[in-house]
């Protein structure tokens, strides 16, 4: 019978139907001037496998059974973590009582350790060997926080990477900032919806509405002032909501945000045909800008926010968005101003372009609001 089971499994269960998580332990390793501080979470189930914590063998671990073996647990852990600072061993010892914590797959013992390490500045190394002898698929997941660093760097220790050097230099503020500026620029260029909204508002900036018709604006100064008002209002608004959302003060359902962004483009584009909101276009830029800010926030959240360098990421991303936006304005405005008196602009770009933008945005709106997977 057993033989059949395996044959049959061989033809069907190649997909890993894991009902459980594989074994991991979680370490937060932080270096100070002359010592290394560690918080180490190890699954009770794993500790039981190697140390037989379940004395009465009833399959239930009580806090008493775990606590009683606290010293053994600490010793076992320390025996499987070697820290070297400048070629000298830095031996960790418990610096607090063992506690417990829940992870998604069960209860973990939480050890708090400290290792004096006077020479850590001349190179720090970690050799991790917990459980590798009984379960080579085990992993040590380390969050490494360098001295003076606010953010953590993730490292994975496995049988193939049991020893790793710990980088003492934290990624500098400048590097973090640069990374997020680039992401911000990238986002506004790849997120066509923001560009289209901005263009809808900028199309009429080189024109003025007279007697129900669009006429070329008389001066560059007037056009630039109009552009400045719209862009500033949009920037101000989305910066406010981007910050509030990222800092966790407000959150809106993403389907609502994405649908409203699409709707904002339709409104802005159609307004160009009728010109009903001519004088106060900056108000529209501001009101809808608030919603676009939430869109930026979810893009930023998707990138992953560095712990401790949140403000830097936020500022960087926002600067990137503004820079990307300015690049579009700088390309578009002179061209539009130059063409503003032509039939091509007045009868073509302005009305036809606006209608096209509205159609595209309408399509997005339907897709986003009704969860419709269309052909595009």
């Amino acid at each position: 019978m057993k033989r059949w089971l395996l044959f049959i499994a061989s033809m069907v269960v190649l997909m890993p139907a894991w009902a459980h998580k594989p074994s991991d332990s979680y370490l937060t390793v932080r270096a100070e001037e002359e010592r290394v501080l560690i918080r180490w979470d190890i699954a009770l189930r794993d500790l039981d496998y190697v140390l037989q914590l379940d004395r009465d063998g009833n399959g239930e671990l009580t806090w008493g059974e775990v606590k009683q073996r606290g010293n053994d647990i600490t010793r076992y852990a320390i025996d499987h973590l070697a820290i070297t600072g400048g070629n000298a061993a830095c031996v960790p010892a418990a610096s607090g009582d063992m506690q417990l914590d829940h992870h998604s797959d069960g209860t973990y013992a939480v050890l708090t350790l400290a290792a004096p390490c006077p020479h850590l500045r001349s190179g720090l190394k970690l050799n991790y060997s917990l459980l590798f002898d009984v379960d080579p698929t085990h992993r040590g997941l380390v969050q490494w926080i360098a001295p003076g660093s606010a953010s953590a760097q993730p490292l994975v220790f496995s049988t193939d990477s049991a020893e790793q050097g710990l980088q003492l230099q934290a990624p500098s503020a400048g590097e973090t900032l640069k990374q997020y500026v680039v992401e911000g620029v990238w986002h506004i260029w790849m997120g066509y919806d923001h560009i289209l909204f901005l263009l809808s508002l900028l199309l009429p900036a080189v024109l003025i509405r007279m007697a129900g018709r669009w006429e070329p604006a008389p001066s560059l100064k007037k056009s630039l002032l109009e552009v400045l008002k719209v862009v500033t209002a949009f920037t101000l608004a989305h910066s406010i909501t981007l910050s509030l959302a990222v800092l966790g003060f407000i959150s809106l359902p993403s389907r609502f945000v994405e649908s409203t962004i699409a709707a904002s483009i339709i409104v802005a584009a159609l307004n160009n045909l009728r010109g009903s909101i001519e004088k106060r276009r900056w108000v529209m830029a501001f009101v809808f800008g608030l919603i676009h800010g939430f869109g930026f926030a979810s893009a930023l959240a998707d990138l992953g926010l560095p712990q401790g360098a949140l403000a830097l990421a936020l500022v960087g991303f926002n600067l990137g968005v503004e820079a990307g936006q300015m690049a579009i304005v700088v390309c578009f405005v002179p061209l539009a101003f130059w063409l503003r008196g032509t039939k091509f602009y007045l009868r073509g770009v302005m009305p036809v372009g606006s209608v096209l933008i509205a159609i595209v945005a309408l399509y997005w709106f339907i897709q986003r609001a009704f969860d419709f997977q269309g052909p595009f």
Binding site: M1, R3, W4, L5, L6, F7, I8, A9, S10, M11, V13, L14, M15, P16, A17, W18, A19, H20, K21, P22, S23, D24, T28, D41, L44, R45, D46, D48, Y49, D54, G59, E60, L61, T62, W63, G64, V66, K67, D97, Q99, L100, D101, H103, S104, T107, Y108, V134, D135, P136, T137, R139, L141, Q143, P154, V156, D302, L303, G304, Q307, P375
Partner: protein, 395 residues
């Protein structure tokens, strides 16, 4: 695109570590803080525990090591617990030197390797097992399965042929039918396997379950849902719990707009990743109030896998991102990476669907090439391919 895993990793790191912010001390010593897998009342765990104790006394006993590895592997299969695969590897690895001439060693190693998707290594180990013991059917059956996963049909067929004198005719026939059904002979394969099932009469329920599930899948592809349902019901009647059957049956129910039935079926299966995915899908379709919870549990598990660098769940992750989260770009990144390793019909299907949804028809090219070259028959695949071709992919 390569950015997606890095981003996921960063997000997962934050999630995993922020979730562990507040350790606690239980108030009383008698408080139960963890329930271990049923050591006390599971005889198979007790047995392997006692073998481990024997091993401590005789660490040089390779046969014992191989037996422990096989038993842990069986436990992993039955309970879906990856720790047992780790324990099996730990028991087996030291036997390498002394067991180089033992077919059982290479078979056990091959099983463990294919579980961690080291298909190349697994094929080598399984070939070695067959060299040392040509009469053993198991390594041949596993090689046939891996060849199928990687779309090497002629090789798979030749392994199936080798099984004929070594195993039950229904299994050998099922193996062959499975390959033929993927290579342009679907109606014939379906008819032949159906006949073989009828001729086999009473056999091991696991074998019948396997054959009925295969028949159900073929019937779906032939556009015969009523037949498919009859096969599924035959399989379920056998009373053998099988996650693959439950997954296939619930996929069928969801596709037939019968999601509430799938939810009822899977209610107690949240702990299985693949079935939790079906729960999330069915829950979304049926607008069940628990759908959001299932989705967030699943998200947590994918995050945890990303954190340790696991690439075992990419097909499921792609389906999750596409059908539950509605993020075609991320889904496509997963489906693309998955297809570099696994090339079964399900893998091709998710690649085509994500490429379509992400509006990147060219990304589905490997799946389209496979569809053309294998002559795989399925109306829904043809439709996907047509839609992709209409958008510029090469049919």
């Amino acid at each position: 695109m390569h950015k997606v895993p890095a981003m996921l990793l960063a997000a997962a790191v934050c999630a995993a570590f922020s979730a562990t912010a507040a350790p606690f001390t239980p108030k009383s010593d008698s408080e139960v803080v963890e329930r271990l897998p049923s050591t006390a009342n599971d005889p198979s765990i007790r047995r392997v525990d006692s073998l481990r104790k024997q091993l401590i006394a005789k660490p040089e006993d390779s046969a014992l090591r191989i037996e422990i590895a096989r038993r842990y592997f069986d436990l992993a299969m039955a309970q879906g617990d990856p720790r047992y695969v780790g324990y099996a590897a730990a028991a087996l690895n030291p036997a390498e030197r002394s067991s180089a001439k033992d077919a059982n060693f290479w078979l056990a190693r091959g099983l463990l390797q294919q579980y961690s998707h080291d298909f190349e290594g697994a094929m080598k180990s399984l070939s070695k097992a067959s060299e040392l013991d040509p009469q053993s059917a198991e390594p041949i059956a596993w090689r046939a399965a891996i060849d199928m996963v990687q779309a090497r049909y002629p090789e798979s067929l030749s392994e199936c042929t080798k099984l004929v004198p070594l195993t039950h005719p229904l299994f050998a026939q099922g193996c062959t039918a499975y390959v033929q059904a993927a290579t342009g002979h679907l109606p014939e394969a379906y008819a032949a396997l159906k006949k073989e099932v009828a001729a086999a009469g009473a056999t091991a329920p696991e074998l019948q379950l396997w054959a009925q599930t295969r028949l159900a899948e073929m019937a779906i592809r032939l556009g015969q849902p009523a037949e498919a349902e009859a096969h599924f019901k035959e399989a379920l009647k056998l009373g053998v719990t099988d996650q693959f059957l439950l997954g296939a049956w619930s996929d069928f129910l969801i596709s037939q707009n019968r999601s509430p039935e799938a939810i009822k079926l899977l209610a107690d299966w949240e702990r299985s990743d693949v079935l939790l995915l079906r729960l999330a899908l069915a829950g979304k379709a049926a607008k069940d109030s628990r759908a959001a919870n299932w989705a967030s549990q699943l998200r947590e598990r994918f995050d945890a896998a990303a954190l340790r660098g696991d690439r075992l769940h990419e097909q499921e992750a792609a389906r999750f991102e596409l059908d539950v989260e509605g993020r075609p770009d991320k889904a496509l990144a997963y489906a693309t990476r998955n297809y570099t390793q696994q090339k079964e019909s399900r893998d091709a299907e998710i690649l085509m669907r994500t490429a379509l949804a992400a509006n990147q028809p060219k990304a589905a090219q490997p799946a389209l090439d496979w569809l053309r070259e294998s002559h795989y028959q399925d109306a829904s695949f043809t439709k996907l391919a047509d839609q992709l071709a209409a958008k510029g992919a090469t049919r």
